[in-house]
Structure formats: C-alpha cells, structure tokens
Amino acid sequence: MASPVASKTLRGRPTNIKPPFPEKLSPGRVVFLRRETKFLITGGLAGVLNGLLGTGGGLALVPLLIRWGKLDDKTAMSTSVLVIAVLSLLSAGVYVWKGGMNWTLAWPFLVGGLIGGVAAGLLFKKIRGDFLRRLFGALLLAGGVRMLF
C-alpha cells in the first residue's frame, strides 16, 4: 500500500526514483533463509537419514548443497565427504560398541577404501564436475532402486 505522499512523489517520474518500500518486502516474494540456517537444515536432514536408515546422508547432502546452498558442484561433493566422515565416525563407533565388528571380514574393505580414497583425492582435480554429477545421478538411481526393494 503506497502512502499518498509517496504516490505524489512518484507521479510523472517513472525513472530514477525507487518505490517507497524495498522490493524484497513486497508480498509474494520468498523471504530467504540465512546460509547458516540452510546448512544447519541440510546437515540435519542428512543426520535423520543416517540415524534412521543407517545410510543415505551423503546422497541427500550433495544435491542440497548444490541447489539450495549454492556451492559449486565439486566443492559440494568434497564438503559432503567431510560431513559424512564425521557423522559416520559417530555411527561406526556406536555400531562397533553395540554389535562388535567382524574384523577378518572387514579389513580388506578398509585397506581398499584407504587406497581408493587417496586415489580419489589425487584424481579429483582432473575430473570435470559435470561428469561427476552425472555419475552421481546414475548411482542415485541405483540407490533409489535398492531403497524401494
């Protein structure tokens, strides 16, 4: 609602004069959350998935960090590795503490994971983000099918 004073000032002078109210306060416009809040919610969602399903936090993090948090795709991916690592440290601790671990079965995967991880860190610079996102999409489809059945 424009005040009479403002409309008088604006009349006949369409340019150079800003409307009396800032545009972002006009109705119908989305009020943006602070970035910190967005990240907090994004991480919270990952925690819900990891907590309830034991997996999937990372699959939710990357798309949310890219689309909502406006991180560039490669930064979103490597940042999600850090976040999930910290969350997994907690879950893995609980898992080993409560149920124990079959180390004879587990150790080849741990060694393989370490080698693969180091290779990933070294190769990351050379891989295009675009390619990674498509690869991620394909793996999401595989993950989706697995969740459904």
Partner: protein, 120 residues
C-alpha cells in the same frame, strides 16, 4: 582370494566414495549380493570403510582447497543433533516407510542430476 576381491572392490568404490558420489551404495550391493554378507554386517563394514577412505580423500580435498568450511561446520552441527536423536528413534520405530519415500526421492534426484543442464 576373496580378501583380494574385497580389497579391489573397496578400492574401486573407494574412489567414488572419496569423490562424494555415493560409492558406499555400490559397495553394500557388492557385499550383500555378490559376497552374501548379511545386510546388517554389510552396513557396519560400510560405515567403517568410509573412515579411512574419507581420510585419504580429504587430505587431497583440503590441499586443493575444495572444502567450504562454513557449510561443513553447520552441516555437521545439524547432522550430529538429528543423527543422535534418530539413531535412538530407529530402535523403536520401523523405518520402512521412510526407506520407500527416500527411494522415490533418490530416483527423482538421480534423473535430474543425470540429465542436468551443463551450465547449471
């Protein structure tokens, strides 16, 4: 011999996991379907496997300055809060419905990521 195949599978999916594109999903499929490891055990190994893998990858990512520390800090904070609460809830509730819902969501996001426009 099996240990050798396991290490190889771990290495290959480890590259994907280190890139943050979901190698853990593939590794669980390998363990459950090809090696006949029980789902519960496979999930535990998967959790544990990700720790050395992420450690290896993150040394590279940090050196390449590919970490958004602010995003990481707040995501970890949010994730730890809900993660602990939900880990306790998971023992009391059946999460099958959430699993299905999440599956559908993954299929949707999977399609949009696979066919995303290059410059977006």
């Amino acid at each position: 011999m099996n240990a050798l195949w396991d290490a190889l599978a771990g290495t290959l999916t480890g590259v994907l996991s280190g890139w943050g594109v979901g190698g853990g999903t593939l590794l669980t499929v390998y363990m459950v379907m090809l090696r006949g490891i029980a789902q519960q055990t496979a999930q535990g190994i998967n959790l544990l496997y990700f720790l050395p893998c992420a450690g290896g990858a993150l040394t590279g990512h940090i050196k390449n300055k590919r970490i958004d520390w602010k995003a990481a800090k707040f995501c970890i904070l949010g994730g730890l809060l809900t993660g602990v609460i939900c880990a306790f809830l998971a023992q009391k509730t059946d999460a099958a419905w959430l699993r299905r819902l999440f599956g559908v969501l993954l299929l949707y996001v999977g399609f949009t990521e696979l066919f995303h426009k290059r410059d977006s």
